[in-house]
């Protein structure tokens, strides 16, 4: 199922993975151990298609994720450090959203079943932000396996779970292995995972230093410490280290064979045994499809709409972006009015400029918050994991932002009419508002996705956005002013053309580059 060879990953001069070779058979269950910074999460993120390797080859069921990204993603479930859930949606809305992303045909039944399995049926209509950490983790597990993926990657799945929830998770993982799923999970908890009697792989400083089909619970922690310390003190002697690790692997295998005879039954062991069984029975096969999976190829427009609907639903729960944008816009109108002493004819002449400046400032505020909401708990990663075209994510986010901005304008324009005594409710003016706002939402979505990943996210977005918007704002102000003076849309000439051309250019640039912005 997984075939990784010579995998390296560097972050600048720092090498996170330094030549990893790993094969995992279909149905196998593997625990990946290692100290902090060993490269476990990086390896999982590369396998989940969230990060690109610097060199080496990765094959998931024989497919290259770089070539067949969407096809591969359809068959991977990933539980990250972050929940990849939307805090401002309910548990049911979160799962329903991802069900749309994966085009799961029996979504309602599947969601009901999973919520029951993770013990969240009673809280299904509550916002995720009201959940405890353990509940969020359980829901995150449900999200990861929602589409019945044949390969499930779990990064520290037991984090934040109480003993009962941990048992429930173990039972869920057992069911998955029973269905033929391949599991690869990382863990720091040596005792618990080793007692599960799984294949254990130890990663240290970006290299695999130990790989044994079964590790003994009693001896493995000491062996692990020895391995990690040894690898740390002998980084320059990679060849010898590999040989030692190899011989330790043989030793561990022998020890484990002995330990297996003494093993006592426990609920947890079911996972390991089931995995063993699967490994033996499916070692020579490489099924990409989970037998129970009924996955269809999601449609582009449905995915776009699902993202828009998700953003609107989140906003309807909180109303925080709309409220902030609207209040900020009113404040801006007031400040411009008294700062420039706008009265009478002067107010009418200044109305287009003041209106567009207000839209620009309020829009920037909303765009920033919208992308923060997406990124807060890793929602954007959840989208990247799904078999979603990057263009669909861009259109979905941009249309969501456009909807919010237009909602504010629906209130703001009549208000500006009253304050400045100008007739803004004209076809041409409204068309200008639509085109200007569309371009603003498009370029704003692209740049908000950049700014949200920076240290100075709160202040950087306007710095990045406003200089780029200069031609748009000039054209919008001049077109609005000409239309208010009685010109028709055809008579405003170049300004209308700039609005249209700006839209075309910026949407093309955003479509071509958005994937680079949102990927790790």
């Amino acid at each position: 199922m997984i075939d990784v060879q010579g995998l390296t990953k560097s972050f600048g001069p720092r090498q996170a993975l330094a030549g990893v070779d790993l094969r995992v058979a279909p149905g196998e269950c593997v625990v990946l151990c290692g100290p902090n910074g060993a490269g476990k999460t990086t390896l999982l993120r590369i396998l989940a298609t969230l990060a690109r390797p610097t060199s080496g080859t990765v094959r998931i069921a024989g497919l290259d994720p770089a070539q067949a990204g969407a096809d591969v993603r359809q068959h991977i479930g990933f539980l990250s450090h972050r929940t990849l859930l939307y805090d401002d949606l309910t548990a049911e809305q979160n799962l329903a959203f991802y069900a749309r992303m994966y085009a799961i045909p029996d979504a309602p039944a599947r969601i009901d079943g999973l919520l029951e399995q993770v013990g969240l049926t009673a809280r299904r209509h509550d916002l995720v932000r009201t959940y405890s950490r353990g509940m969020q983790q359980r829901l995150a597990v449900a999200r990861a396996v929602l589409h019945r993926p044949p390969l499930v990657l779990l990064d520290e799945p037991y984090t934040g779970l109480d003993p009962l929830a941990a048992d429930a998770l173990t039972a869920l993982l057992t069911d998955l292995t029973g269905e033929g799923c391949t599991l690869l999970l990382t863990s720091h908890n040596l005792q618990t995972d080793v007692t599960l009697n799984r294949r254990v792989v130890v990663l240290n400083r970006g290299r695999i230093v130990y790989d044994a089909p079964h590790a003994d619970a009693a001896t493995f922690p000491a062996l692990y410490r020895e391995l990690v310390q040894e690898a740390g003190s002998k980084t320059q002697d990679a060849g010898r280290k590999t040989q030692e690790a190899g011989s330790k692997t043989q030793d561990a295998r022998r020890e484990t064979q002995e330990a297996r005879g003494k093993r006592q039954g426990s609920a947890n062991e079911r996972v390991g045994e089931s995995a063993d069984h699967q490994l033996r029975s499916t070692q020579h096969a490489a099924p990409l499809q989970n037998p129970k999976s009924k996955i269809q190829n999601p449609k582009f427009l449905r995915q776009v709409w699902a993202i828009v609907a998700k953003d609107i639903a989140a906003e309807l729960h909180t109303r925080e972006i709309f409220s902030a944008m609207f209040v900020f816009a009113v404040l801006a109108l007031l400040i411009f009015s008294f700062a420039l002493d706008l009265r009478g004819a002067l107010a009418q002449a200044a109305a287009p400029g003041v209106l567009w400046a207000t839209i620009a400032f309020a829009g920037t505020l909303g765009l920033s918050r919208s992308m923060v909401r997406e990124q807060q708990t890793g929602g954007i990663e959840g989208l990247l994991l799904a078999p979603v075209d990057r263009a669909a994510i861009f259109f979905g986010k941009a249309l969501g932002n456009l909807t919010l901005m237009l909602a504010v304008e629906v209130v703001l324009i009549p208000l500006a009419m009253v304050m400045f005594n100008v007739g803004l409710l004209r076809g041409g003016v409204l068309l200008t508002a639509l085109l200007g706002t569309l371009a603003y939402a498009a370029v704003g979505t692209l740049l908000a996705a950049i700014a949200v990943n920076t240290r100075a996210r709160e202040v950087l977005l306007p710095v990045l956005l406003l200089p780029l918007l200069t031609p748009l704002l000039i054209a919008a102000v001049k077109a609005t002013a000409a239309l208010l003076e009685g010109a028709t849309w055809a008579e405003i000439g170049g300004w209308g053309q700039i609005l249209v051309v700006y839209n075309l250019i910026i949407i093309a640039v955003a479509l071509l580059t958005f994937g680079y912005v949102i990927e790790e």
């Binding site: 972050f11 600048g12 001069p13 720092r14 690109r52 400083r205 740390g232 980084t235 370029v443 692209l446 740049l447 950049i450 990943n453 920076t454 240290r455 100075a456 950087l460 710095v463 990045l464 406003l466 200089p467 780029l468 200069t470 031609p471 748009l472 000039i474 054209a475 001049k478 170049g494 300004w495 700039i498 051309v501 700006y502 250019i505 910026i506 640039v509 955003a510 580059t513 680079y516 912005v517 790790e520």
Partner: protein
């Protein structure tokens, strides 16, 4: 390494000579402009720095595309080195423009199209430099900067048209009917542009070398840390 040093020295020498020649031509070869007088001589620095600044941003645009296409660090280094040097040149354009405007228009600044476009360009690439300093991951920094560099450059023609149609009082030197300059003025301008371009190439090369040195230093530090732990 020896050959690189030789090229560096040749470039520095050529830049110095070209700049001295340009200075000589500006002050001793080019004729005194009849209407504006001596202040017109700033034009040779103003136009040359504007040309090189825009060229620098074009190189940033090309470097950004190269980086996104290949994921190779050398394109990223080229892109942001050129942006930084280009920013210096556009700053020079703004300052020389304002110095010229005061005696000629009676004010340092007016919302004149070319001043405005230069100011917008300056702000765009200040934002580019700020972005580079604010991204946590080096790989993402390169990608984000590449995307911003591309978006910034493609909106320049639109800003140009928007501001030009808005209103203009800036003198038009180059038009469809040719250049409104005497032959000696044209020679001086061309030499100035060549000198400024050579200085740009020298600065760019040094900036790129500095970044490579930083990369080597970071790698050595990591090796040192690994050996110490």
């Amino acid at each position: 390494m020896g050959q690189k040093r030789l090229v560096d020295r040749a470039l520095v020498g050529a830049s110095g000579v070209a700049f001295l020649v340009a200075l000589g031509m500006v002050f001793f070869y080019a004729p005194r402009e009849a209407t504006m007088g001596e202040v017109q001589r700033i034009f040779y620095f103003h136009v040359a720095s504007a040309w090189v600044g825009f060229f620098g941003f074009f190189v940033t645009f090309v470097g950004g595309i190269g980086y996104l296409a290949t994921n190779h660090r050398r394109w990223d280094i080229l892109a942001f080195s050129s942006a930084e040097v280009g920013l210096v040149y556009i700053s020079m354009t703004l300052v020389t423009g304002m110095l010229w405007a005061k005696p000629v228009w009676g004010t340092y600044w007016t919302w004149e199209p070319r001043l405005t476009i230069s100011a917008v360009q300056w702000l765009l690439y200040v934002a580019y430099v700020m972005l580079r300093g604010s991204v946590l991951s080096p790989e993402r920094e390169a990608r984000f900067a590449a995307v911003y560099g591309i978006a910034a450059f493609v909106t320049v023609p639109l800003s140009w048209f928007a501001i030009r149609w808005w209103r203009t009082i800036h003198p038009v030197i180059v038009s469809g009917e040719g250049m409104a300059l005497t032959p000696k003025m044209i020679h001086t301008l061309l030499v100035s542009v060549a000198a400024f371009t050579l200085v740009y190439a020298t600065l760019l090369r040094q900036r790129i070398a500095l970044e490579h040195a930083r990369d080597r230093l970071a790698a050595l530090r990591l090796q040192d840390e690994a050996a110490a732990s």
